[in-house]
């Protein structure tokens, strides 16, 4: 059996706001195996970023984690001390942020930032500046960046969005890692650039043999990049399945509804969209959070929170429709 | 869709609920920070002292033409909580009266400065890149090229020392802050799509400046105003300290500190009490201002 890199179990996260506690994550389960590429797909504000930020424990100070555990290579991230955590961050997992404009320090050159990351990666032999420089050049070259030397001397604002995102990829893969988390790395990029960046990301991750968590809005991106997909809605993983299987047979009403909304290149008109709005996190529905919008909701859905049910190999869905003794 | 009755109903409730929520939210954010509540309390208390001085002060007439050489330099005691000064006047009563001057100065100055500065800033910001904007902004640079207190002193030097003149002196360079603030906000707000769409609809410049842009500057301007009250009172106190404020017998905080400073440390209360009064009122406005800032900021 392949080794599990990340195992999130029943994670709850809430944010303190002036309207009270926003109960964002509502018992999230997620596992990533070694070398596996998974993606989390969901609409805006469903808690994707919150989920992955909690892996690195870089949540905003208002956040609290009342329940759950996050096992990274077997040890619980939530119980780690500072040095352990630092080790996790410098050599365990790394993260690429959504907005490449915002995720590079504007007043340092790319070179300075890359070298700092390499310097503190815990690798041996990086005390020398020249070594660090070489590593940085190499990392950039691997992302197919032209003229790495020039890039290293540039400030972030001098680069285009695609280049910045490639720099971020280079940064996160400059040193050996077990896991790369990419939070919507291509949302702000053009399709052609997105295509290139995703290809590079995929290729680099595969070459280095590390695992990938890719967050995206787009089923298309998820399909073309990853092996397995988590569908997230309002702080819950409603469904997970290997990519092919999910597209062949989406089970959760939300997955189905969401997929139908996506315009197809092949035409066929637009679907109606999902009625209603994402419910408010301060006062979430008691049972299934999708129940108020669900066309197939049953009375039970409004009362109880559905647990994940195995419906196939690596295919789980959190819906009473598939509960053996539920529903009907 | 709905009958008239229904409509009225739902509108009514919406209006009310919305306003109520808005206010409650504002207050929640404001009161989240206990210090801003303290600030509000201080400011209100000081305002009450100033307004009701004749009824609240132990010796209200001591703020006017009054001397009592039998009671000079009396240290703080039961009768005179802050002691008496060199001609026997009750310092507490005078401080309470002096708050009036401080408020008048602050409010008067803001009343002069804010409308002018804001309009200038709106014009300059909206026309950024055109000569009118450059001109206005260079003029503000000129006014800011001398530290404001020095500018105020120079202006005071040539005017008769009165409250109104010190108000003018402070205002001479103060408007530039509002001009700059509103300028920078306007010059970015004018690129907001809602401004563009108002323009495209064909709305007049006045509408755009005062209805579309100005309301969005209110928050920042209002925050600055509360914080500035403190600054203006401080500047006024500094002017008073060199004898350029209210003239005797009307008490002014800065003048009281200056006059009392001659008697330090023997008769410390003559100077220290008004100095504390300055601190309290300015502290009040600062705390309040910070609270207002938190309240109006979008961040939680």
């Amino acid at each position: 059996m392949t080794q599990t890199i990340v195992d999130i179990r029943d994670l709850y996260v809430q944010y303190r706001t002036f309207d009270g506690q926003a109960k964002v994550l509502n018992g999230v389960n997620l596992t990533v195996k070694k070398g596996e590429k998974v993606s989390i797909v969901g609409e805006t504000a469903c808690g994707k970023t919150t989920t992955v930020k909690s892996i690195l424990r870089i949540l905003a100070p208002q956040a609290s984690i009342p329940r759950g555990e996050i096992l990274f290579n077997g040890s619980d991230v939530l119980k780690m001390g500072y040095s352990e955590l630092n080790k996790l961050r410098s050599s365990g997992a790394s993260m690429i942020f959504q907005d490449p404009t915002m995720s590079l320090n504007p007043v340092f050159t790319i070179g300075e930032q890359m070298e700092a990351v390499i310097r503190y990666s815990g690798q041996s032999g990086v005390e020398q500046k020249s070594v660090r420089h070489e590593l940085a050049v190499k990392a950039l070259e691997e992302t197919a960046m032209p003229d790495p030397e020039r890039i290293l001397q540039s400030y972030p604002f001098q680069l285009s969005g695609g280049m910045r995102q490639r720099v971020c990829i280079a940064l996160s893969l400059a040193t050996p890692r077990d896991l790369v988390i990419a939070d919507e790395p291509t949302t702000n990029l053009d399709v052609t650039i997105q295509d290139q960046v995703l290809k590079i990301l995929k290729q680099r991750v595969e070459a280095k043999g590390c695992s990938l968590i890719l967050i995206t809005h787009s089923f298309g991106v998820a399909r073309e990049t990853t092996d397995r997909i988590y569908v997230m809605y309002a702080g819950n993983m409603v469904e997970t399945a290997p990519t092919q299987e999910l597209f062949r047979e989406p089970l959760h009403p939300y997955s189905r509804a969401l997929m139908s909304c996506i315009p197809r290149l092949s035409g066929g008109g637009m679907a109606e969209g999902i009625p209603g709005r994402l419910s408010n996190y301060h006062n979430p529905p008691k049972g299934c959070r999708f129940a108020p919008r669900c066309p197939e909701a049953m009375p039970r859905c409004h009362e109880e929170k559905p647990e994940s049910i195995d419906v196939g190999r690596e295919h789980q869905v959190a819906c009473f429709l598939y509960d053996k003794d539920g529903g009907k | 869709m709905a009958n008239a009755n229904d409509k009225a109903n739902c509108q009514g409730t919406v209006v009310k609920r919305d306003k109520f929520i808005q206010l409650k939210r504002a207050w929640y954010k404001f009161s989240l920070n206990k210090t801003s509540v303290i600030g509000l309390v201080i400011v209100v208390a000081v305002a009450i002292c100033a307004i009701f001085q004749p009824w609240l002060a132990p010796y209200p007439h001591h703020a006017g033409e009054f001397v009592d050489f039998a009671n000079v330099n009396c240290p703080p005691c039961k009768e005179h909580w802050c002691g008496t000064d060199g001609v026997g006047r009750d310092i507490l009563s005078r401080i309470m009266y002096a708050f009036r001057g401080a408020f008048t100065l602050g409010l008067g100055c803001l009343a002069l400065v804010v409308p002018f500065g804001v309009v200038m800033g709106l014009i300059a910001g909206y026309h950024k890149g055109q000569w009118i904007s450059t001109f206005i902004m260079r003029v503000t640079d000129v006014f800011l090229s001398i530290p404001p207190l020095i500018m105020a002193l120079c202006v005071c030097a040539i005017l008769r020392p009165t409250l109104f003149n010190s108000l003018l002196a402070v205002s001479v360079s103060w408007w530039t802050w509002y001009c700059r603030l509103v300028y920078s906000m306007t010059s970015s707000l004018r690129n907001e799509m809602y401004v563009k769409s108002a323009e495209l609809t064909g709305a007049s410049t006045a509408h755009i400046l005062f209805r579309e842009i100005l309301p969005n500057c209110f928050g920042a301007v209002f925050t600055k105003m509360t914080l500035d009250m403190g600054w203006i009172i401080l500047t006024g106190a500094s002017l008073g300290f060199v004898g350029m404020g209210e003239q005797p017998p009307i008490p002014s905080l800065g003048t009281m500190v200056a006059d009392g400073a001659k008697y330090i440390p023997g008769q410390w209360w003559i100077s220290i009490c008004p100095a504390l009064a300055i601190m309290i009122i300015v502290l009040g406005f600062n705390l309040l201002g910070d609270g207002v800032k938190d309240m109006l900021s979008s961040e939680e």
């Binding site: 320090n105 504007p106 007043v107 050159t109 503190y120 | 090229s145 120079c154 030097a157 040539i158 300055i278």
Partner: protein
């Protein structure tokens, strides 16, 4: 790049010109006859009339302005009423003293402002943050003169550890003039006792001047650091496992310094303004006290001179601050800031 700076220079020149108009207006709208005031009440009318003509007071204001400006450019600012010397001489004499105080105060302010700001940001929400917050409120709620009075009371009177007046102790010979700043001149002359004496005289007034500035910059530093610490790039750097100390003092501090440095200009303005009262209190013979005397005595040539010179000095300060900001912020440096 050069072009940007040239353009800035043009702006500064324009501002100076505007400033001169402003100062001219201030110095000429005042009531009274400058010639008569200059010569004293008993001078014969003929002498006064002659001076009046010499001072061009009989010409229209516009002409007067240009003549005045022409003189001013050649550093001829007229004679001071109080000292009877050319104002420029007085300025040469006093400016270094005030600069000395402002520089010391500025350094003191920036050092403490940053330190406290960083500490407060680092320990957000702890008691230390609270203490610093209280301190910064104290700093901004009282004007410089109040602090000076209190400092003088405590450190010159109750515990007399610092001198309360003058630039150097009595009987101390001033150093040979090189820069006019005693501390530096003493050092240049190798006289350490003198340096110590001059320095000790600077301490109280300089500290008195900086309370407000320290508080302001501490607040702003804390604010921007806290704000920036939520930025993605800081999260990213943290997520790369860069040690906290390094984060704080390098990756977080540098971008956060930009607003702090930018508002330093305001703090320096308040130091200059405060110096007008504080030098007076400490009987410190600097340009600010000279200016204050000029204001009190309606010595218009001196007021104009002081305002002009302080305007220029302040402008230089602003240029320096611009340069520092440009150094800190590559966007400003390479794209040339807004405006």
């Amino acid at each position: 790049m050069i072009l940007t700076w040239l353009k800035r220079l043009g702006t500064y020149l324009f501002v100076l010109l505007g400033l001169s108009v402003l100062i001219f207006i201030i110095s000429r709208v005042a009531p009274g006859d400058p010639a008569r005031i200059a010569l004293g009440p008993r001078a014969p009318e003929s002498v006064v009339q002659a001076l009046r003509e010499k001072m061009n007071l009989d010409k229209p204001y516009v002409v007067q302005y240009f003549l005045w400006l022409n003189d001013a450019i050649r550093l001829d600012l007229g004679d001071s009423l109080q000292s009877r010397r050319p104002v420029i001489e007085d300025i040469k004499e006093y400016l270094p003293a005030t600069l000395e105080i402002v520089i010391i105060a500025g350094i003191w302010m920036i050092a403490w402002g940053l330190l406290l700001g960083i500490l407060a940001a680092k320990f957000t929400g702890t008691w230390l943050d609270g203490v610093i917050r209280v301190f910064s409120y104290l700093g901004v709620v009282a004007p410089a003169f109040v602090w000076s009075i209190i400092l003088m009371l405590v450190f010159a009177y109750v515990i007399p550890v610092f001198p309360s007046s003058g630039r150097i102790s009595l009987g101390m010979a001033p150093p040979p003039r090189v820069t006019g700043m005693y501390t530096i001149d003493y050092l240049l002359a190798g006289n350490f006792a003198g340096f110590k004496d001059a320095f000790v005289h600077l301490i109280l007034p300089a500290i008195g001047l900086t309370f407000g500035g320290i508080a302001q910059s501490a607040r702003i530093t804390r604010g921007t650091m806290v704000e920036n610490s939520r930025k993605d790039y800081i999260l990213a750097e943290r997520a790369y496992g860069i040690p906290e100390r390094k984060m704080l003092f390098k990756y977080l501090l540098k971008p956060s310094l930009i607003p702090t440095v930018s508002v330093t200009s305001l703090d320096i303005a308040s130091i200059f303004g405060g110096a007008f009262l504080v030098e007076q209190l400490y009987n410190y013979p600097g340009l600010a006290r000279y200016g204050m005397q000029a204001v009190l005595n309606k010595d218009l040539n001196a007021i104009a001179g002081v305002a002009m010179v302080l305007g220029c000095v302040f402008m230089i300060v602003n240029i320096i601050i611009d340069i520092i900001v440009a150094r800190l912020d590559p966007r400003v440096r390479m794209l040339g800031g807004e405006n």
